[in-house]
Symmetry: C2
DNA sequence: TGGATCAAGTAAAACGTTTTAGCTTTGCTT
DNA sequence: AAGCAAAGCTAAAACGTTTTACTTGATCCA
C-alpha cells in the first residue's frame, strides 16, 4: 500500500471530467435536479464510484457549520445499562454519518455543567442528555440555546421538551399487578429519595396498584453507606411486613441483595425479589432475580432517529417528540 | 442567552486589536518567539481571554489535516471491562483535546475489517485496537499504512508494534503460586482455544507454575453452546481431578459457575474458584469469587498517553512503546 | 415578435485556520 | 560606510467544501 496515496478531492474529479466543481458538488449532494443533465450525472457518479471519492469532513463542517457530532451525556457510561445503550447508539449514529462523544455526570450537577460548558461553542450539533438530580433549571436553559436537545431516561413536567424514556409507571404497575395475581398480597418497595422523574413514576406506579404500601426511601448519595445498610436491615429483615420486595433501581437491588445475603434470607421462599433493569448479575444470581427489563435496542434506536430527524428538519415546528417505551417483565426464580 | 451570539474568530480579534491575523495565530499557537513583541503578546492574550475565543476545529482540521480523533476498536464496548477502559480513555483524551470514536469487533475478523475500511480516509489520526482472532496479517498491514496504531489487550510476536497489555504470564503465575502456598496442590485450568496472545500467555503462566496440569480448552465460538456445557460438566463435575479451578476469562468463569450452580457444587469447600477480570458479578456472587483484576485506570491512561505521544512526535524513531502492566490478585471467599 | 420561463451549466466567494515568504527597521560587525 | 542578521510584523495562499448569482441557449405562448 502506497503511503503517498493522495486523497482525491472534488476539484480532481472536476478536472478529470472537464466539468466545474459546482456540477460535481451538485451531483454528490443530490441537488442536480434541473441543474445537470441525466447523462452528465451518470458520468460523474461513475467516476466517483471508480476512484472511491470520500468527502473531507473537515471542509464540509467548515463550510456548513455542522459537525455531525452528537454528545451523549449519561449518568455513568461504564454502567451496563448505559454502556449497552451507548454501543447501540454509536452504531446507529454511524450508519447515518454521525459521531458520538460520550461523557458521564455521575449524577452530579456540577460535573454535568462542567461538561456542557466545555462543549459549548465546540461545534456540537446535538445533545442527548440524562440529566442528574437538581438539574431542572439548567435543563431548561440548555434548550434555550437553540441546539437540538433530547432527554433520556428522565423528563420534566414543568416545561416541554423532546425525550425518550421508559414508561416507568405502567411497567411497574403491570409488574406489581402480575405479582398480585401470582398470590403475593403484601408487597414492599425500596425507592430512591430523588427528584428524578424516573423514581417518582416508579413509586407512583407501585403506590397506585397496591392496597397497603410499605415503602423505604434511600438517599442517592448514601446508597453505599452504613446508614443505608442499617435501614435496609430494619426494613427487609427485622421489621419486615411483606412477602416480596420491589427495588426501584439496580443499585438499590444490589444493596438489598447484599443485606439479604448477610442475613441468609431465603429467596423466594421467605422473601420474593423483583427489580428494575436486567443485568448479568441478576440472571446469574443464586437464585436468578426477576426483573423489569428495559428495551435497550429500541431506546437507543429511538434516541438516534429522533435526534437525526430533529437535526434534518430545519423547521422544528412539529411540536415535541416524546417517546415512552414499555418495559418487559422477566420472571425468574426470585418471585 | 442570545441565539445570534456569533462566534468570535481570529479575524475578529485581529481587527479589534489592529494587528494581523498572522500575529494572533502565532500568539495562540505559542509560535510567537522572535515574531511578536512581549508587549503585544500580552495584549493579544488578554483580549482572547476576555472574549473567550474558542478555535474552530473544523478549520484547524482542514488546514492541518489532523482531526484530533482516535478510534478505539474494542472486542465489545458494552462489556464491563472495555466499558470501564473506554470511560477512562474518553476523559483522559478529552483533557488533551482528543475525541474518541468507539466500535466493537465482537471478536469477529470481518467486522473488524469492515470498521477499518469504513474509517479509512475519514481523517482518523490514530487507532487503538483490540484485535480479534485470526487478525495477524491485517494487523500488520494496518501498521504499514503509516497511521499511529496502538494494540491493546493482545499483542503479536511475529512483528514489532506499540502495545499496552496486562502481564498475563506473571499475573497468573503469581496467583497460582499463591494458591499453592495456601495449600492447594491440584489445580485445574479452563482456557480458550484461541490464537490470541492473552490466552496463550495465561495458559503458559499456569503450565509453568504447576506440577501436573489439568486443562480444558473451549472454542471461542462455542462458549455458550450445549457442547461446552457438557464438556464443563465432564471436567468440573464427573471427572474432576483438582481442588481448585482457574478460569482464563470471565466469560469462561460465568459458563463454569452456571454449571457448578446447576450441580450444586459447594464453593470453596468442594471446589475453589479463581478467574481473570473483576466485575460486579464476582464480587456479589455467593460466595464472592476471587479474581485477578486488571488495573483499568492505568491501562486507559497508558493507552492515551502512548497514543498522544506518538501523535506529537513527528519523528517516531524512538522504537516501539510496549507496556505490560501487572494484575492484582483479589482473594475472596471462593479460594 | 418579443417576453418570459426553464434547463444546464459555471465562476467565485465564503467558511476559519496555519504557514510561507516576504517586508521594515534596528543594531552589530568589519 | 557597507553589509548582514535578527526582531517584529504582515499579505496572501492554501486546505476542500457548499452555495449564490450569473450566463447561455432553447422553448413556449399570446
Amino acid at each position: 500500500m502506497r503511503k503517498d496515496h493522495k486523497r482525491v478531492s472534488i476539484k480532481d474529479i472536476a478536472q478529470a471530467l472537464g466539468v466545474s466543481i459546482t456540477t460535481v458538488s451538485f451531483v454528490i449532494n443530490g441537488k442536480a435536479r434541473n441543474k445537470v443533465s441525466e447523462e452528465l450525472i451518470k458520468k460523474v457518479e461513475a467516476y466517483i464510484e471508480k476512484v472511491g471519492y470520500i468527502p473531507n469532513v473537515a471542509a464540509q463542517s467548515l463550510r456548513t457549520g455542522k459537525s455531525n457530532t452528537i454528545v451523549f451525556m449519561a449518568e455513568d457510561i461504564s454502567d451496563p445499562f448505559f454502556a449497552k445503550i451507548a454501543k447501540r447508539m454509536e452504531s446507529f449514529a454511524f450508519e447515518h454519518g454521525y459521531k458520538i462523544v460520550f461523557c458521564s455526570t455521575e449524577n452530579n450537577k456540577d460535573r454535568a455543567i462542567a461538561h456542557l460548558t466545555f462543549f459549548k461553542d465546540k461545534g456540537i450539533d446535538a445533545y442527548i442528555i440524562t440529566p442528574p438530580e437538581h438539574f431542572e433549571e439548567e435543563a431548561k436553559s440548555i434548550m434555550e440555546q437553540g441546539k437540538v436537545t433530547v432527554f433520556f431516561d428522565r423528563r420534566y413536567n414543568s416545561f416541554d421538551h423532546h425525550y425518550v424514556v421508559l414508561d416507568n409507571y405502567r411497567s411497574i404497575r403491570d409488574a406489581v399487578r402480575f405479582m398480585q395475581q401470582k398470590g403475593y398480597s403484601r408487597i414492599g418497595f425500596v425507592g430512591l429519595e430523588s427528584d428524578l422523574s424516573t423514581m417518582k413514576e416508579r413509586e407512583n406506579g407501585y403506590l397506585d396498584q397496591v392496597e397497603t404500601a410499605f415503602v423505604l426511601k434511600i438517599d442517592f448519595k448514601e446508597i453505599t453507606s452504613q446508614v443505608t445498610i442499617e435501614r435496609l436491615e430494619q426494613f427487609l429483615i427485622y421489621d419486615r411486613q411483606f412477602d416480596i420486595v420491589v427495588f426501584a433501581s439496580n443499585s438499590l437491588a444490589i444493596a438489598g441483595l447484599r443485606v439479604m445475603q448477610k442475613h441468609k434470607v431465603n429467596i423466594p421462599d421467605s422473601l420474593g425479589v423483583l427489580t428494575f433493569d436486567d443485568r448479568e448479575l441478576f440472571e446469574l444470581y443464586n437464585p436468578p432475580i426477576s426483573v423489569i427489563s428495559q428495551p435497550v435496542g429500541l431506546l437507543a434506536e429511538e434516541l438516534i432517529t429522533t435526534t437525526i430527524k430533529l437535526l434534518s428538519d430545519a423547521d422544528q415546528q412539529h411540536g415535541f417528540i416524546q417517546k415512552s417505551l414499555p418495559g418487559k417483565l422477566i420472571a425468574r426464580y426470585s418471585t
